[in-house]
């Protein structure tokens, strides 16, 4: 199947207007600083939550990179070996940080509900002063529509530089950004491919960039569908870009998927190349810098083609059980129904009991086979 791809990014952003009001001059650079800033925001707005966490599955799969570790199985680029992220020390630190935030009510208390993120997005800028966002760049659609939904006129989101964490075991620079986290693709055989191309062309254009509110110069989310910078599309032209058409409660990519039936790709880094970056200069300037600094921000790819059917089945069985075990333990620790230190040894031993070492060895062998 031939696919045409359009990428998206994961970023941390913060509400500049609320930071200014709370007198926060220094933008956090580390997780400790972020925690302190969130405490200041909590004091300023005691009835609200400064941020919202995603589901635990997303914490394991994507947040783990920010804390210098990785998902249930990932390729450690320092050692070149396959590794199990949740049993690494940095995962323990990550859970402690998240649990502390939960305990201090710095995040929504019901984040484990399937629709919790959606509900938080609906409140963005309107009902609650949510200050820190861990979302992909298309979440700007929520930000722009927030003004329409009644956000204050000085409502303003800015992107934050990636946070650092001491000694990332995962071998990546510790940052919220495996560069291109996901994207859309359309089959060249699709009946809707013309509509897809039209949309992609628009989004790659200067006007499209501005409309999507990445901000023309400083990558700040200062534009909206009503502002001068963000040139809104004329009503009904093209129809799928009408702001009225957008459902602000779901990610922009889902909006596009619903309207056009595009295939959503995750992860999409196999289509990642510098052409993508160059075609979207304003948006990807920061990403390009990251890419130049370190080429290894992309997601790992399983060496599936070098595994036999039996090996793949074994991998899947162990992975499902180990991943479930990690989700259960992490979630319980974050919401406070289990203690990280007390339960850690048993958790690690449970993970190993399922055969995690066996599949890591299997993946290492498969990777070497592929390399040859």
């Amino acid at each position: 199947m031939d696919l045409y791809h359009f990428p998206t990014l994961n970023m941390i952003s913060y509400r500049k207007d609320l930071f200014d009001k709370a007198g926060i001059a220094n933008i956090p650079r580390t997780w400790e600083e972020l925690y302190e800033v969130m405490m200041v925001l909590k004091d300023a707005y005691p009835e609200s939550y400064p941020t919202y966490f995603p589901l635990v599955a997303d914490i394991i799969n994507t947040w783990s990179y920010m804390f210098g570790t990785g998902p249930t199985v990932y390729l450690n680029e320092k050692t070149g070996k396959w590794t199990c992220g949740p049993i690494e020390e940095n995962s323990k630190k990550m859970i402690k940080w998240l649990a502390q935030c939960y305990k201090d009510k710095l995040t929504t208390q019901d984040f484990i509900k399937p629709d919790a993120q959606k509900q938080s997005r609906q409140k963005l800028g309107v009902e609650e002063p949510i200050s820190i966002l861990f979302e992909n760049t298309w979440a700007s659609a929520y930000k722009t529509t927030a003004i329409e939904r009644g956000a204050p006129s000085d409502f303003e989101y800015q992107y934050m530089d990636p946070l650092t964490w001491e000694n990332g075991e995962g071998g990546k620079l510790t940052m919220w950004c495996p560069v291109i986290g996901s994207g859309w693709a359309v089959s060249l055989n699709s009946k809707k491919k013309d509509a897809a191309f039209k949309l992609f062309d628009f989004l790659y254009s200067q006007e499209g960039t501005a409309w999507a509110s990445f901000g023309p110069a400083d990558l700040g989310i200062t534009t909206s569908v009503k502002s001068e910078n963000g040139v809104p599309p004329k009503p009904g032209e093209p129809f799928w870009l009408s702001p009225k058409w957008l459902d602000p409660s779901i990610p922009f990519t889902e909006n596009v998927y619903n309207a056009t039936g595009f295939l959503q790709i995750f992860p999409a880094c196999r289509w990642q190349d510098n052409t993508d970056i160059d075609a979207y200069p304003e948006v990807y300037a920061i990403t390009k810098k990251m890419l130049d600094a370190n080429k290894s921000y992309s997601y790992f790819e399983l060496p599936s083609s070098a595994l036999t059917t039996e090996q793949f089945e074994r991998f899947n069985a162990v992975f499902t059980n180990a991943n479930d075990t990690a989700m259960v333990f992490f979630e319980k620790c974050i919401i406070g129904s289990a203690n990280v230190d007390e339960g850690w040894d048993k958790f690690v031993s449970d993970m190993k009991k399922f055969g995690i070492d066996e599949i890591l060895k299997m993946l290492d062998e498969a990777s070497s086979k592929l390399a040859k």
Partner: protein
């Protein structure tokens, strides 16, 4: 009616089949749609069961995939999660089963005792509304009401107690599962029993009154015996659900924190079979589950028939 009677009497058995079909043509036409429905949506897809005995490869298709016999069944029995999954499936199934049927009867009996027709209809209508709500909405309401910032926890806090994260606590899962089910379906379930009770001859109640029976005795000796056959039938039909608790509902209500009590065979099939792409493995667990359910239904029917031959199917 004449046609049905003739078919029953057997006097037409000597007639040719085609003539008999022609005479009952309207009945056969009526039968055609449900017949097609079952063939297309229930019988033809049964072919997919063969996936459980193959190493299914989407590129090769079901026919082209390699036959591996009981490999996936053996793998399932050796799965370390299997005892826990089976225990959870049975626990949720049995508790749901224990709460199926009799709450409907109690509600129907209570409503039947109401003399004020307007009040009875109003109550019945209100109790029926949740049945017409989608399961997603019912579970959404429950999860939001019970969330840490939900209405229930606000009330708990006002009463001076600690908030409880109900949906993340394993000990609360079955309670939430059962109560949402009762809230959604008891009103509708009572309708069937109310219909039966409304068909009971008033003379029976009058006779009981003459004999000196009070309200409770009339309920016990007249009303209940009339609803028992339907209750027995519902028990037989529901017995299969012991091994198949509502997949959708569990998926909507559970979180990783409650996996230890809420993760059942069907949700495991979903995560491993569909999300993990192990279609054959998922089919094998599903097939095994269905066979056990069938055995349960047949054995219950057998036992019920031994107790009273009019109650079975």
């Amino acid at each position: 009616m004449r046609v049905i009677w003739k078919l029953k009497t057997g006097e037409n058995k000597k007639q040719k089949l085609t003539i008999r079909i022609y005479k009952a043509r309207y009945l056969y036409i009526m039968l055609l749609l449900p017949f097609l429905y079952y063939v297309i949506f229930h019988y033809i897809p049964m072919y997919g069961i063969t996936m459980a005995f193959k190493d299914y490869n989407p590129v090769k298709g079901i026919l082209g995939s390699k036959w591996v016999g009981f490999k996936h069944f053996i793998a399932f029995f050796n799965d370390p999660r299997m005892p826990e999954l089976f225990k959870n499936t049975l626990t949720i199934g049995i508790v749901s089963y224990l709460f199926s049927g009799w709450p409907n009867i109690i509600l129907a009996l209570l409503l039947n005792e109401l003399n004020n027709g307007f009040f009875r209809k109003t109550v019945l209508t209100i109790l029926n509304i949740p049945y017409y709500l989608s399961l997603v909405i019912v579970c959404g309401i429950a999860v939001n009401l019970l969330s840490p910032d939900g209405l229930v926890n606000i009330l708990i806090e006002r009463l001076g107690m600690e908030r409880i994260f109900f949906i993340a606590r394993p000990e609360w899962f079955i309670f939430i599962y059962i109560t949402t089910g009762l809230w959604q379906s008891t009103g509708f379930g009572a309708l069937i029993y109310l219909a039966i009770l409304s068909s009971v001859s008033p003379e029976l109640y009058d006779s009981a009154s003459i004999e000196g029976a009070g309200r409770f005795q009339k309920m016990w000796y007249v009303s209940i015996p009339h609803v028992i056959p339907m209750f027995a039938l519902s028990l037989i039909l529901n017995i299969g659900s012991i091994l198949g608790p509502s997949f959708e509902k569990i998926l909507l209500l559970y979180t990783p924190s409650t996996y230890e009590v809420a993760d059942v065979l069907s949700t495991y099939i979903y995560r491993r079979g569909l999300n993990g792409g192990e279609f054959s493995y998922g089919s094998a667990i599903g097939f095994f589950n269905s066979v056990l359910s069938l055995i349960l239904i047949l054995s219950t029917n057998f036992i019920v028939k031994r107790i009273n031959k009019d109650f079975g199917i």
